[in-house]
């Protein structure tokens, strides 16, 4: 019975994300910036050259390589795309609290932890779909424009970017389960994102912490030796988000 309700709730989440176009927007925005990355990397020298000509300056940029394309991709995914994704999903649970649809579900024989699991599963499905689309788009365009790409290094790097996206999106769901309003949930999610992005620079132990996954993405791209500690600590963080969300939602009372 529980498993049936879990799949029913999951089906509802997926349909809702498609019909309200949030899930579609999420995948489309990531795909767009993924496609822009190799193109902008490829044309950057020419753009700079045309700018320098109008300004009577001489800017010499080295010939771009497939590595520049992927670096640009990492930058786009972890900055503008993440920023937009937080805005899209900051009301993932809080909006249901605000509008009363959470009451609609919780007054029925629905165990609250199943609701939370369906939310995390739905977000995982959309992150996975997005990751697949991004990977294919970036790989194809980079190969087309630059003529070569290290497939193994690219896949390893994509895995770390996927872990990064899962952490960020799980944090958004977590804060959404914790907070009463979308705005507060958004503020906490942005706060976490900023901390996560900047902490690597000033925390000496970041090589052991989840924020190390982005550094490992770059290491993987250069075929360097991969440190697994950030992955292990990320797993702990991800599980903590899920468990804490369940605890918070079990204490939630309809006002």
């Amino acid at each position: 019975m529980d498993i049936k309700i879990y799949f029913l709730l999951l089906q509802k989440e997926i349909r809702e994300l498609i019909l309200t176009q949030k899930g579609i927007a999420f995948i489309a925005i990531f795909a767009f910036f993924s496609a822009v990355s190799p193109i902008s990397a490829f044309f950057m020298p020419e753009i700079m050259k045309s700018i320098s000509e109008t300004q009577n300056l001489q800017i010499i940029l080295p010939e771009p390589t497939w590595l520049d394309s992927i670096q640009q991709y990492i930058k786009n995914i972890t900055q503008i795309c993440t920023f937009i994704a937080i805005i899209i999903f900051m009301g993932f649970i809080t909006k249901e609290k605000e509008t009363g649809t959470l009451v609609f579900l919780f007054v029925k024989p629905v165990k609250r932890f199943l609701y939370i699991l369906s939310k995390y599963t739905a977000i995982t499905i959309f992150v996975n779909l997005s990751a697949i689309v991004n990977t294919v788009v970036v790989y194809a365009l980079t190969y087309y424009l630059f003529g070569k790409i290290d497939f193994i290094a690219f896949i390893k790097m994509s895995f770390f970017i996927w872990v990064y996206l899962i952490i960020i999106m799980y944090s958004v769901v977590f804060f959404s389960s914790l907070c009463k309003s979308q705005i507060i949930s958004g503020v906490f999610s942005f706060g976490f994102y900023m901390l996560f992005s900047l902490a690597g620079g000033f925390l000496s132990s970041s090589e052991y912490l989840p924020m190390g996954v982005l550094e490992q993405a770059t290491v993987a791209l250069q075929n360097g030796s991969i440190n697994l500690w950030p992955l292990l600590s990320s797993l702990v963080l991800i599980l903590s988000f899920v468990v804490l969300s369940i605890l918070f939602i079990n204490k939630w009372e309809a006002k």
């Binding site: 019975m1 049936k4 349909r15 609609f104 007054v107 309809a254």
Partner: protein, 310 residues
Amino acid sequence: MRKIIICQNLIKQYKEEKKPALDNLNLEVPENCIFGFLGPNGAGKTTTIKILTGLMNYNSGTVIIDDEIILPHKTDFRKKIGYLGQDQRMFEWMTGIELLKFTARIFGQSDSEAKKSAEKYLEISGLSAAANKKIKAYSGGMKQRLGIAQALIGNPKILFLDEPTSALDPIGRKEVLDFIYTIRNDCTIFMCTHILADVERVCDYVAIINDGKLIEQNSISNIKSKYSSKLLEISFLNNEDIAKFISYSQNNSDYSINENKDISFRIIFNREVTDYNEFLKSIVNAGIKIKSFAVKEATLEDVFVKLTSK
């Protein structure tokens, strides 16, 4: 008659407030009736209904629903209840039939059973023609009827309705009350409202609460007969007489007054009265000129005002 809902010494204290929202509330709801739960705004009606449906925790006391003690986060008892909240929002991106099928499947029905149930309740609620319309395109009355239909789909023993008509226009209100009346034999209906005309129209029993305490609980007919011989409608010649009467009544604890229109008052006595002569004489002796008077049967509104006014 068997009691399907029992609250014993129920206390709910919100952290941010000094006074308890529910202060030793005791309540007994007979099975298979429409039970009106009345109280002024802030009396504790919604708090009670949220505790009864397991949506809110309580500090102390006992809540029994269909012989089962209710604790928050227990889910099994929810198979026995249906609930429509005040201004309840549903998944507006769904169509009416999708929402009812989804609800039926939560109650363990198979896909084909859920489809049949959804069609049945769409018909009962008069929404068959709008089955495939998105809920966001429904009118207020249609949404409320769909809300009641989704609350009924698990064949609940108790249907909780929190202010089901408060946000509706007169036509929507009539539609919803008619719908409630048609389902009265299927389950016990616990209806929380402050619209007394609705209660008089459809309810068999009422409980009145104020400041989180039960003030009165009885059948509507008993409540009205309890107060019927104690109501006098009296009107005065002019504003001067009204002012005199109000001043005269200020120190009197025998009755309470409920202003009716500009120059008339409904007076409810606190004791059994069979002869009003003495009372009328005392007013005339005080120099107040009476234009007319009549002994009236108390309405639920008179009882409500009397019991809830401080």
